[in-house]
Symmetry: C2
Subunit: 311 residues, 2 copies
C-alpha cells in the first residue's frame, strides 16, 4: 500500500477489507529456527543478518495476498547489532513494496524531544522517516504526554500507533491490573481511556482513529471489556496461536462487521515448517508450509469470529 498523507485507521481498515483477512504476520526470526537452507553459523552475525533479511522477505512474498500487514519484531534484529538493523530495514522496504502495511513492533517510548526522535525515525514514508513504517508499538508507562509526539507524527504522515494496553504475558497483571486510586478503573483502563480519547481526536471515515491498542488474546474477558471501552480503536491482538489464545478468545476483538481488530500470529505461521502437521502435507518448500498455516489461521478466524463477514 503506497503511503499517502491520509489516515492510518482508514488505511488499515481498507487493507483488512481488501485482503479479507485480519491476520497480521509477525516477523520474529530466530537463528536456530530458520529453515535449514537459511541456517548459518550462529556466531556469524553478518551471515545471520543476511539470512534474516532473506527469511523476512520470503515470508512477505508468501503471505502478501493473505494479510493486511506484517509486524517485524525489532528485538530479534537488534540482537544482531547494526547489521541486524540493516536487515530489518530491508524487510520493511520489501513489505512496503509488496503492498503490506508495516507495524513495527519495537515498544518504544521516551520523553519530549527523544520521543519525537523515535516517532520521526519510524512513522511515515521514507525518506523523511528512516524506517518508513505505517505504525509503531509504544509503551505508556512514562505518561500520556510521552504518547503525544508519536500520535502527532502519525497525524502528519498518515501513520498510527499501537499503545500497549493489556499485554499477553503471564505477569501483565503486576502493574496493569492495579486499581487506580481506589476507584473502579485499573491502570489498563486509564490507558484505554487515553487511547479512546486519541481516537476520537482522529476519527476516520472507517469509524476508527489513528491510535490502536495492544490487547492480548490470553485475557479474553479483558479483551471484551477493553473492546467496549475503546470503540474507535483498532485492537492489535497478540497471543493467538503459539501463546495459547484461540479464535474464540479473540472473537470479542471484532466489531459486527469483522473490522476493528488485527490478530497477530508469529511463530505459529513463520515456523510452520517445524510442525509435523505441515510436514506431512508434503509441502514442497518451507514457504508452502508457511502459506498453508496462514490460510489455516485465517480460516479458523473466519469460522469463529465476525472476521467471517470479510470473506
Amino acid at each position: 500500500m503506497p503511503f499517502s498523507p491520509s489516515h492510518f485507521g482508514d488505511r488499515l481498515t481498507h487493507a483488512i477489507k481488501a485482503k479479507r483477512s485480519p491476520l497480521v504476520v509477525g516477523i520474529d526470526p530466530r537463528p536456530n529456527q530458520l529453515p535449514p537452507s537459511l541456517q548459518t553459523d550462529s556466531g556469524d552475525l553478518t551471515a545471520t543478518a543476511k539470512s534474516f533479511a532473506t527469511f523476512g522477505k520470503a515470508i512477505i512474498d508468501t503471505v502478501a495476498d493473505l494479510a493486511p500487514a506484517v509486524k517485524p519484531q525489532a528485538a530479534f534484529f537488534e540482537r544482531l547489532g547494526p547489521e541486524g538493523m540493516a536487515a530489518l530495514a530491508e524487510v520493511c522496504d520489501h513489505a512496503v513494496s509488496a503492498g503490506l502495511l508495516v507495524i513495527m513492533d519495537a515498544k518504544r517510548n521516551d520523553i519530549g524531544a527523544t520521543a519525537e526522535a523515535y516517532a520521526a525515525a519510524y512513522l511515515g514514508p521514507k525518506p523523511e522517516s528512516a524506517w518508513g513504517c505505517d505504525a509503531l508499538t509504544i509503551n505508556p508507562y512514562m505518561g500520556f504526554d510521552t504518547l503525544e509526539p508519536f500520535f502527532k507524527q502519525g497525524q502528519s504522515t498518515g501513520a498510527g500507533v499501537f499503545v500497549l494496553c493489556k499485554t499477553s504475558n503471564p505477569g501483565s497483571d503486576a502493574l496493569q491490573s492495579r486499581q487506580a486510586d481506589g476507584g473502579d478503573q485499573t491502570i489498563t483502563d486509564l490507558v484505554a481511556d487515553e487511547i479512546q480519547r486519541l481516537c476520537e481526536a482522529s476519527l476516520g471515515e472507517s469509524g476508527y482513529g489513528n491510535a490502536g491498542a495492544v490487547v492480548g488474546a490470553t485475557y479474553p474477558q479483558q479483551l471484551e471489556h477493553l473492546r467496549n471501552k475503546m470503540k474507535n480503536s483498532i485492537l492489535l491482538v497478540p497471543g493467538f496461536g503459539a501463546q495459547g489464545g484461540s479464535a474464540a478468545d479473540v472473537a470479542a476483538a471484532f466489531d459486527e462487521n469483522g473490522l476493528g481488530a488485527v490478530i497477530n500470529s508469529s511463530r505459529g505461521v513463520i515456523f510452520a515448517y517445524e510442525k509435523e502437521k505441515y510436514q506431512s502435507q508434503a509441502a514442497k518448500s518451507w514457504q508452502d508450509a508457511v502459506r498453508q498455516s496462514a490460510l489455516d489461521a485465517i480460516g479458523v478466524l473466519r469460522d469463529s469470529t465476525n472476521a467471517g463477514k470479510l470473506a
Copy 2:
C-alpha cells in the same frame, strides 16, 4: 573499564570512586545542535550518522577522566536508520576503549524470548552481545516477569539494568503516581519494591545490587522517598541541568559516602558551546566548552551533595 564476569553494582561503584565523580554524560546528538565543524546537510542520513559518530567519540575523549559512564540515547541514532545504529555501535565501542561504562538508554522491554533477545543484544561484552553495553534502561509496564530476562542476562555477564521507576517528564504522574488497589503504595512504589528485591538477590561488595532505578531529578521529594525504599539500588537520575533539576534536588539520591547514584547531564554538557557563558571563556574549541561544563557540573554536585566526599 574492561568487562569481567563480575558484578555491575560493584563495577559502577568502583568507577564512581576511581573518577571521584557521579556525573554520567548523556550522548544525545541532534543534527542542528552539532558543532559547526560537524554540521551536515540535514537530509543526508549517511553524512549525519558519520557526524554523530565523530561527535560522540569526541565527547567521550573529552570527558573520559571525569565521568564513570556515558549514556548514549538510542533514539537519536535510530532516527537516522541503520547507519545511525552503526554510528551508535561505534560510539559504544569507543567508550569501552576509553575505560567508560556504557549505559544504553533505549528503554526497551518485551515478553519472554523477545525480552531475552533485547537482553542478549545489549548486555555484556562483545562478541556475545552485539552492542557490548554495561547496562540498559528498561520499562516495567508489561510486568515484572518481563524484567527477569534482562536481570538474568546481567547476572551472567556482569551487566546491569536501570528500571524506569519515576520518570522526569511533567506527565509522569499519569500512571506512575496512582495508588495501587486503594493502598498506600503507588505504581512507582511497586516498581521500587521489585527493584529492591532484585538488588537483594544480587548484592555486591559495594552494598549495591545489579538493578538500578531511573528516578527523575524533577521530583525531589519522591527521590528521597525512593532512595529510602531502594537502599541497595544505584539510582540513575535524569533531569539535572537542562530539565530544571538542581544539585540540591538530587542530593537525596546519594548515600552518606556519596555513592549509590549517578547523575545524568546530556544537553547541559554536550552542547555547552552554545552557551554564552562558555563562549565568553574563550574556549579554544567546542570540546573545551564541553569539558568545562562537565567540570562545572561535577563541582556543583560536589559542593551541594555527598558527592563531595568522593573528591
